[in-house]
């Protein structure tokens, strides 16, 4: 579905999206890695559980929310891919651990 621009840097950064390894150029976003890995969807909406994926790629639509390195609800289009980054599906609303009693 997506082809890389011919002038892009070589894809040297390896990240793991839902267990699949994706190679992206230096400076690419985590959302770009999601798309390169072949995922159209990376989250389920909190209330209705609908599938959503990266759309605006510029920090506006919040449809690219994903769990990145264990932190839920990250705007993956606004976060630069780093070697070894783990991107996972954001399934519905994040959990809260109130812990303290």
């Amino acid at each position: 579905m997506f082809r890389r621009r011919p002038d892009a840097d070589p894809a040297t950064i390896a990240v793991i999206v839902e267990g699949r390894t994706a190679l992206v150029p230096h400076g690419a976003s985590a959302a770009a890695a999601v798309l390169v890995a072949g995922f159209r969807n990376i989250r389920e909406t909190p209330v209705e559980g609908r599938e959503r994926g990266p759309y605006c790629m510029m920090g506006i639509c919040f449809d690219c929310l994903a769990e990145i390195d264990g932190v839920p609800n990250q705007q993956s289009c606004m976060i630069e891919a780093r070697p070894g980054m783990r991107i996972r599906r954001q399934i519905r609303a994040r959990e809260i651990d109130p812990g303290l009693r």
Binding site: P46, V47, R94, E95, I96, L100, R101
Partner: protein, 371 residues
């Protein structure tokens, strides 16, 4: 000129609740609204249907608020049936958290005063100690030493409420005129005309519900509405699984999971800008109350202007000079929505405000200066 049975000026929560109530009474109603430039407290509202802090020293305000809160479940059900919009109303009771002894003592004294003032109407409340409170609210911070609780409090989604009221109004054949400011108002007893973007309209009744705009409009109709802006700021977190079973005065988790953090009371005129120092204060108090909030991201924040009468209580009046002209002013458009639609609107339709509303007249501010 197009004639109606009533004109409501102001399409925020107060105006649209009254307009819907009038249309439901069978009146032909025009609702005149400003555009996106409006200050529109209804868009910045925190969304509490809040009872427990209202009316210390003014038991009529406590009664009016509670009557509204009591009618809220039926209003929410009715709006859902008529419009398909769920306004996210819940009434699980609510708490006011106290973070130190002086706050707690002040609160205890206030709640007991209100119970005494309530007379036969009653005022059911409890002061909860930390241990009891920790059983009710998960992850309560060690700084919270106690709280007041009443069963009357709840919350709702103010944006959905506004949407539902507009939709229900239009379905009751109400005429909604947007993007217009009222010009050329002409008042005579039982005969009111206003210029709008859609031409001149006239009616034997007019209700001023223009929020902060009422201050300037009211004198044109022989009324007084000395309301002033009071800024409040709000932060909202990302959506999360629901953990808070009930709202507090300044923290509530919506049906959808986002957690709203308020609030501030700032006397800064018509300045709607946000201030990091105030946002920090709001966040700090929230994290002291529930330390786990620290892990949540803030996704939105805003400031808005409350519509504040000098003593904080609503103002309701019918003009003596121009009977048929009414005002409704308050900062509690969500809490009082059910009272406005189900109690106030029928009074306007009947042409007389109930004597129980006499204490809300702006005449209370006409105190002769001491010699």
């Amino acid at each position: 000129m197009t004639r109606y049975d009533a004109i409501v000026i102001g399409g925020g929560l107060v105006g649209s609740a009254i307009a819907y109530g009038l249309a439901r009474e069978g009146l032909r109603v025009a609702l005149v609204d400003e555009g996106d430039v409006a200050y529109r407290a209804s868009r910045g509202n925190f969304g509490l249907v809040w009872v427990q802090s209202k009316g210390d020293g003014a038991p009529h305000y406590q009664r009016w608020t509670r009557r509204s809160a009591d009618k809220w479940p039926a209003l929410a059900t009715e709006l859902l049936a008529r419009t398909g919009i769920s306004v996210g109303h819940e009434r699980p009771g609510g708490v006011h958290l106290c973070l130190d002894e002086s706050e707690l003592e002040e609160r205890r004294a206030r709640m007991e005063r209100m119970r005494i003032q309530s007379g036969n109407f009653g005022f059911e409340y409890r002061m909860l100690d930390r241990r009891e409170l920790a059983d009710m609210l998960p992850g309560l911070g060690p700084s919270v030493i106690g709280a007041s609780w009443t069963p009357y409090d709840g919350h709702a989604n103010p944006l959905k409420l506004l949407h539902a009221l507009h939709k229900a109004f239009v379905e009751k054949r109400g005429r909604y005129i947007s993007n217009t400011t009222v010009g050329n108002a002409k008042a005579a007893p039982g005969d009111f005309r206003v210029g709008t973007g859609a031409g001149e309209i006239g009616a034997p009744k007019v209700v001023l519900a223009a929020g902060l705009g009422n201050a300037g409009l009211a004198p044109l109709f022989g009324l007084s509405a000395p309301v002033e802006p009071q800024r409040g700021q709000i932060l909202v977190t990302e959506r999360a699984q629901r953990v808070l079973p009930m709202p507090t005065t300044t923290i509530r988790q919506t049906v959808e999971g986002g957690i709203m953090l308020g609030d501030s009371q700032e006397d800064v005129g018509f300045d709607t800008s946000q201030k990091p120092s105030v946002m920090r204060m709001i966040a700090r108090r929230a994290v002291l109350s529930f330390p786990w909030l620290r892990d949540l991201q803030i996704v939105r924040a805003w400031a808005a202007l409350r519509v504040m009468p000098p003593d904080g209580l609503p103002i309701y009046d019918q003009s003596e000079r121009f009977p048929g002209a009414f005002t409704a002013n308050c900062h509690s458009g969500v809490t009082l929505a059910a009272a406005h639609a189900n109690l106030f609107a029928p009074m306007v339709a009947a042409g007389t405000l109930d004597p129980t509303l006499a204490l809300f007249s702006a005449k209370r501010f006409d105190v002769p200066a001491a010699a």
